[in-house]
Subunit: 351 residues, 2 copies
């Protein structure tokens, strides 16, 4: 990666390069390795600079910046959320991110993060389930079969040993798409006609629907003892998926409480409703699953540190794969004080 | 710009393209037109979403995100400040920025902003001076002849009619560089041996030094009646250039008081020291210069709206100049829910 020694150059991972990177590494290996980096960063949670995301709201949606730093590297993600976009053939959520060197402030990586966010969300869910689901869990229900569903399925296969999937979506064509995309993955897949049917016999229930309003995808009677719930779709104020009664019966695990209390399923609960921070389970300072009949719930909303881990992982793959281009992003005059001279000299070189 | 209709593509203005754009338009025309856009945005100050910058501090420097929105467009700048960088041949400050569509959250422009920030800072200073300096001002002292000096000189020539420059820097080679770069600009230039000498006969005094500590570049006896002071270099906590006594004698004009009270010259003053917001002078709701003996001071720190204006201006030039490349930044599956399928299909197209 010697070309990166040019101070003006920032490596850029485009959407096309990200897709090639995922395929080159293999999606399950990518998810497994990414999960390891996420776990590594969760284990050193306390060194990170943690701020809530900086949101700019409008009537159509939200644009957010999610920065964090471990004191050596700085990362931020730009992400939008516009529910109406899908009707215009656009993604509801798109994202890109930057990783920088804290020592000199120079960006070291610019990357697409729409695909990468899907991967890190799934990897984080699977890491949480590794600590919270029953070790013998093999069957997962996935309710909501949109853009995130296959990533969740493959992460749970690779990281938690899930072998059976039970899919349900209010739109059958979404489940069909999911089935088609997972052909040849080795997962045994059952298409279901209701949420109720999907959760039958499931050890893990993943809810990942896209409704913006407070929805009740899961009601209390649908959740049996010993189940782990991976609640991914409730991720902003006014957007939830689970009935309150489930939250009362479950032990709840979260990423960053100040953010989850605003955005997660627990926005339905009292502001002091007890929750456990996932990083504490990983470091052994808090308990994860304590018995086989306990109901555990990972109330996932997505936190800046996961994006940081994802950027860090992608950057570690650049040298070996060459899957990036070089972006002339930083002005680099020979004499730092001579910025205007650099502009003038570029005239000479233009001729 | 029909190619931009591809939903995955974001126009990117590299450093090289920015230099070409400045030269194609002409630096003085660029500064003049940019100043008009800045003034336009200052005049509608109240519609903007204004937040203080989000800073991540370390022992070596700071990385900041500066977002703002007018409800239709959203912009943010990434900017670092690392004083030690110059010793390693790096820029103290580098920057890039993004302009997005609030309606769908999609980025519309990614641009280098190291050069662009220098231009917008100079254009803002000159716009302020247009309202605050004496109309007959023709001679400007520039104390501190680093990366920002030429941009200030040319903006004040183009926008305020400055014809004479008096340059001083503690490092004579910086003044020499400045003189060399401004040859042929039409400005009459005098190199001076002290700040005291530089301000003799100057109608406008621009201070734009790079010291991080509280410095006193200007003392009270150096500032005569009728002068306009354009204080650019004091722009973070602990970094000031003017003696307090000057601040007591001058009428002080600022961009965004909550930020300037932390970062500007007025960090030396009581938190309720009276200041006037520049946008109010432009809209006529506050007074600018009221007589020819008044001392006016623009305490410039740089605000997100100026970057927003700069990105808006650059974007307006893309179609006519073609000076951008297309960045494959946004994942754009044919079916928005089929993100994983897009990754799979890219395998097929790889073969």
């Amino acid at each position: 990666m010697s070309a990166i020694a040019n101070l003006n150059i920032v490596p850029f991972v485009s959407v096309d390069h990200m897709m090639k990177l995922v395929l080159r590494i293999g999606v399950e290996t990518f998810l497994t390795e990414l999960a390891e980096v996420i776990e590594e960063d969760f284990r050193r949670w306390e060194v990170f600079d943690k701020t809530p995301r900086i949101a700019s709201h409008s009537s159509d949606g939200v644009i957010e910046l999610m920065p964090t730093s471990d004191g050596t590297l700085y990362g931020f993600k730009y992400v939008n959320g516009h529910p109406k976009n899908m009707r215009q053939g656009r993604q509801t959520v798109t994202a890109f991110g930057v990783l920088s060197d804290v020592g000199n402030g120079y960006p070291m990586l610019l990357s697409e993060m729409t695909i990468l966010t899907a991967l890190r969300t799934a990897a984080t869910s699977a890491v949480a389930a590794k600590y919270l689901a029953r070790p013998d869990a093999r069957c997962m229900a996935v309710i909501g079969n949109g853009a995130q569903a296959e990533f969740q399925a493959l992460a749970f296969k690779a990281i938690c040993g899930i072998t059976h999937l039970r899919l349900y979506d209010i739109d059958r064509s979404a489940s069909d798409k999911c089935l088609r995309n997972l052909e040849g993955s080795g997962l045994a897949i059952t298409l279901c006609h209701s949420s109720q049917e999907a959760v039958e016999g499931a050890d893990i229930i993943t809810t990942v629907t896209a409704d913006k309003q407070c929805a009740t995808i899961l009601t209390d009677n649908m959740v049996g003892p010993g189940v782990h719930i991976n609640a991914v779709g409730g991720d902003c104020p006014g957007k939830t998926e689970l009935h309150r009664d489930i939250l009362h019966r479950a032990d709840i695990f979260v990423e960053y409480p100040p953010q989850t209390r605003i955005e997660g399923e627990i926005q339905q609960m009292a502001p002091d409703h007890p929750v456990t921070e996932l990083w504490q389970v990983m470091t052994g300072t808090a308990k994860g699953r304590s018995d086989s009949r306990q109901i555990t719930l990972f109330d996932s909303v997505g936190f800046a540190i996961e994006d940081f881990s994802a950027l860090r992982y992608v950057r570690s793959k650049l040298a070996a794969t060459g899957l990036f281009t070089e972006l002339d992003l930083l002005a680099d005059p020979d004499e730092p004080r001579d910025l205007y001279g650099m502009v003038l000299r570029s005239k000479a070189s233009v001729g």
